[in-house]
């Protein structure tokens, strides 16, 4: 039994375990709002981590794709009362387009330079959004009315019930996890691996490293946009802060603490981050200090993150049995 417990956990098992975990979570947690938030942040973290954990590039402006996805959803709902799926697809598209634009200018730059540039571009859009107060509501933001889950002509179901909303977002998380698993296992994903392992060798094997990085970046932007649209639907609100460096920093911190080495690390990070921001902030306003300190400790001593350490532990125990 214990042998199976420690040796038998392959990726498929883990995928299903997480799926089941989130499936039954509402039974144990009455605060549906928080766990739905966790779903959206997990999605954000997973798409962000494609760049950090798999390509090996730290993007410090990922809030741009998240926030623009959120704003796209909000603006389309407010001005055009679009169907929920239109909003989601549009949000994803905008996220991908921004990623493409930033990527074209930044991806050629190596490592830390790239991080600076992504931050710069995100801040640029943030300031523009702040200025366009009439459109974006500035720091006060925009409130939305949550649209129903609807396919015109077929059915319409209100998402006002927190439970229904939770499972709606849950489906997207599961779909994203599934898609990312396939991407990572694919030939494309393997190329990302070797780019991260030894970029020069990848080049001398004929791989157009820039092209692969750019495509990965666009995918990351696509799904960060998705996370943004869902987040907007959840909190029924979007503001310029969703585009700002603090939000970018949050996903970086969250992903590292959770673990960059796998698909599921960011989920753990999202859980921890949401817990800190929603609970600690009630006790002490300076919860960011707590987050920052935990983050620094992880960077110094536990770079694998919580999930990574758990995997290491599992391997060690598995070997001893």
């Amino acid at each position: 039994m214990s042998r199976w417990l420690f040796k038998g956990f392959q990726d498929t098992h883990i995928f299903f375990l997480w799926a089941i975990f989130f499936l039954v979570l509402p039974l144990f947690v009455s605060n549906r709002f928080i766990i739905t938030e966790i779903l959206a942040y997990s999605l954000f973290g997973i798409s962000f981590n494609l760049m950090l954990g798999y390509v090996g590039l730290l993007s410090f402006g990922h809030a741009l794709y998240f926030g623009s996805g959120a704003y796209t959803m909000a603006l389309l709902l407010i001005h055009f009362k679009v169907n929920i799926f239109v909003g989601i697809l549009a949000g994803m598209g905008i996220g991908a387009i921004f990623a493409l634009m930033v990527g074209l200018l930044s991806i050629r730059q190596y490592g830390v330079y790239f991080s600076m540039l992504t931050l710069g571009f995100a801040e640029m859009v943030y300031f523009i959004a702040l200025k366009m107060r009439d459109l974006t509501g500035g720091e006060n933001g925009l409130a939305i009315v949550r649209p129903p889950l609807e396919i015109p002509g077929l059915f319409s179901m209100s998402l006002e019930s927190p439970l229904r909303l939770y499972y709606f977002v849950f489906i997207f998380l599961i779909l994203t996890l599934f898609i990312f698993r396939r991407i990572i296992d694919s030939p494309f994903g393997k190329v990302l691996d070797i780019i991260r392992e030894n970029e020069t060798r990848a080049r001398t094997l004929g791989y157009n490293v820039e092209k692969f990085k750019l495509i990965a970046f666009v995918i990351s932007g696509l799904f960060s946009g998705l996370a943004g649209t869902l987040y907007c639907l959840i909190i029924k609100f979007v503001h310029c802060g969703d585009l700002q460096w603090l939000k970018s920093g949050e996903v970086v911190i969250m992903t590292l603490i959770g673990g960059t080495g796998s698909l599921y690390g960011p989920i753990v990070g999202a859980i921890i981050n949401t817990f800190l921001s929603d609970f600690i902030s009630l006790l002490w306003q300076r919860w960011l200090f707590v987050l920052g300190t935990i983050f620094v400790i992880f960077v110094l001593y536990m770079r694998e993150g919580v999930w990574g350490e758990m995997q290491r532990l599992q391997k060690k125990l598995g070997r001893r049995l």
Partner: protein, 249 residues
């Protein structure tokens, strides 16, 4: 036909001139060694061919095509591949995966998203063949970082061979090897050089003489001698260059 032509190639680093007006032609099928004291510019020369370093001036032609300012991956696609002085492999991938990625780069599967890479049995099979060719059979599933030094070198040669390149650049392929390993590597190089052009930077004179039909001597960035191994042995200028370096240190 000259498969590789280097015209007036120069590389300046600030005040230091690493490569100075090098003019060389390489024939198809040659196995040529480049030797010279440390700091002679050999590795810099290779880097420029491979596109890893831009020349200060000069041109490089591969199969009549000007590759001087092409990006590395394009140069690799044209059929040039290199092994490095400091072993360059994918440490956390298995031996088989290392080689398979080299083969995969030639295939059209690279932008495929939704298929499991391991399903491409053909690639696996070809990779296994090369694993056997470089005497790493049995080690396919080991992580590359766990290999011994000699095994890592063989892996790198395997990766290069897997690309099936037209021109192979070897930068000190026997560095740090024991005598048996060197003999083994000599045989390996002979195997993979069949019908290919090979340029090799080497310090080990035995290796140079047993493999090369031609030896080029570089000193302080310039070609000071170019001929058959026997000619080089008797060249006074070459002896001075090596002895001079010895006196300096």
């Amino acid at each position: 036909m000259a498969i590789l032509k280097v015209e007036n190639l120069t590389k300046n680093f600030g005040g230091v001139c690493a490569v100075r007006n090098v003019q060389l032609e390489f024939k198809e099928g040659e196995l040529c060694s480049i030797i010279g004291p440390n700091g002679a510019g050999k590795t810099t020369f290779f880097k420029m061919i491979m596109g890893l370093l831009p020349p200060t001036s000069g041109n490089i032609f591969f199969q009549e095509k000007n590759i001087t300012h092409l990006p590395t991956h394009k140069i690799a696609s044209l059929g040039i591949c290199q092994t490095f002085q400091i072993i360059s492999i994918f440490p956390n991938l298995s031996v088989l995966e290392n080689i398979r990625m080299a083969i995969q780069s030639r295939s059209k599967y690279n932008f495929s998203f939704f298929n499991s890479a391991s399903k491409y049995l053909e690639l696996q099979r070809m990779a296994q063949e090369i694993v056997n060719d470089v005497h790493l059979a049995g080690r396919e599933s080991s992580n590359a970082k766990n290999l011994s030094y000699g095994e890592k070198r063989r892996l790198e040669i395997g990766i290069t061979a897997a690309r099936d390149p037209v021109l192979i650049l070897l930068d000190e392929p026997t560095a740090g090897m024991s005598h048996e390993e060197i003999l083994d590597t000599i045989k390996l190089i002979q195997n993979i050089s069949a019908r290919k052009t090979v340029i090799m930077v080497e310090h080990n004179i035995d290796v140079v003489f047993s493999l090369s039909s031609r030896v080029i001597v570089l000193n302080r960035g310039e070609v000071i001698s170019d001929g058959s191994p026997k000619q080089i042995q008797q060249d006074e200028g070459v002896k001075r260059a090596y002895l001079g370096k010895q006196n300096d240190t």
